[in-house]
Every structure is written in C-alpha cells, then in structure tokens.
Amino acid sequence: MNVYANLSLVLLLILTAAGAILIKDLIGAVLVLGSYSFFLALLWAWLGAVDVAFTEAVVGAGLATVLFLLALFLTVPLEQKGQLPRGQWPAFVGLPLLGILLLYIAEDLPKFGDPLSPSNTHLAPDYLMHSLPATKTPNVVTSVLMDFRSLDTLIETAVIFTAGIATACLLRTSRHDSHTR
C-alpha cells in the first residue's frame, strides 16, 4: 500500500516534469512547473523531510511561480516557433547511456533508510546525541544548518537579515503618508 502511494506521487512528479517541458504555451509551462514543485514538496513530506518540503512549497511553488510569471508579463508570452537544430542524435544515444550508468552506480549505494549504512552508524547518532546539549536548539536540522555549519551559512543569514530590513522598509508606511495620499 505504501509503495502505491509513493508510486502515485512519483508518477505525478514525472508527468508534471514532462508536461512543463513539452507544453508550448509559456504561461502554462510556468503553472505546470509550479505544480511540479508542489508534488516535489509532497514527496519530501512523504519521505519525512518536513523542512525541505516547507522550503520547496514556499520557494518553488509559491515564489518562483510568481517571479516567472512576472518575467513573462514583461516579455512576449509565446514561445517562438523554432527549428530543432540538426545533429541531435548524440544526445538521444548519450543521455540514456548516462542514465543507465547512473542507475548502475546507484546500485552500490546503501539502501534507503538502511540502519547499517555509514551515515546512519556514525554521523546521525552523533548529531542526534550532541546537538541539543551543545546548541540548545530542539530541531536538529536547524542546529546543523545554523550552528555546526554557521560559517557556511553566514552569508545566507546575512541575506535573510537584509531581506528582513528591506521588507520592513517597504511595508513600513507612516501614518501621514496614508492620509495625504
């Protein structure tokens, strides 16, 4: 039963991905891409990665769709009918070969959720044991992102802070402005 639910979500994902590429109307492509993003978020949620799902839903499905649409409204909303360039057959041969190669390599990876894989025997228990006493943050993902990897995410934090200031500046209208308008 679980497998079927998983399968239906993955099928929807593939369907929307193919639709976003094949559809000719660009606005339609953007909207299909938004729904693709949403199924990705659902899949993350189904796999238990709630944080990633939240980010995907907010950024991918919400923000990116609006940004793409705004870009489209400033340009011509129809795809130019173009000729497919000649000599594409290396792609048709090479890409499936690459896919087969990747699948072959993926066979050697530890199975999904395998309790004996290296990451589950060394790294994860260590973080789970030490992150709460060391950082006083209840969410392990947040503690890894913001404390253990704080130098990596320093710029990201700065960006978020700047965005907060910019939002405050944009939204903060004084009482006098709204009256004299």
Binding site: M1, A5, L31, S35, L42, G62
Partner: protein, 88 residues
C-alpha cells in the same frame, strides 16, 4: 485505518491528474490558474493527510497553513497582473 488513509491519498492523487489536464490543456490562462488553485487545495489536504498517517500532524499543518497563505498571495498577484495586462 491507515490503509484507508493511504487509499484516500492515492484517490486524491488521481483527482489531481484531472486538474492537471485542465492546467495543461486549458484554453485560456484563467482556466490554468483555476486548475492550479484546485491542485493546491488538494495538496493542502494531502499534507494534513500525510501528517495524520505519520502521527505528526502539528508539523505538517504548519506547512499546509504556510502554503495556503502563499497560494492566496500568488493567485491574487497573478489575477491582478492578468487584469492589468489584458484589460489595458
């Protein structure tokens, strides 16, 4: 009961395909926006459903609340811009 929920999840996923047809096929852009809205309302319910299956509703409800609000803002923005673009 869990099997029932998972069956419900699959049924909702099948319903989404119908809306997807409308998004891909829709003759006007408004049909597409409406179809996207239908998909997102299904998806909000799917999130709560997944949360119930995992017995961690509180986390998933947060995502669905956030997504519902973003969906509102996004759809209103799209509608406003379509109004200005075509109506002018």
């Amino acid at each position: 009961m869990n099997a029932f929920f998972i069956g419900m999840l699959i049924a909702l996923a099948l319903l989404i395909v119908v809306y997807l047809y409308r998004v891909i096929q829709g003759p006007t852009v408004f049909d597409r926006v409406l179809g996207l809205n239908g998909i997102s309302s299904k998806a909000i319910i799917l999130l709560v459903l997944i949360g119930t299956i995992y017995e961690r509703v509180e986390m998933f409800v947060d995502i669905s609340t956030g997504y519902a609000l973003l969906n509102l803002v996004g759809s209103l923005a799209i509608a406003k811009y379509l109004e200005q673009k075509r109506g002018a």
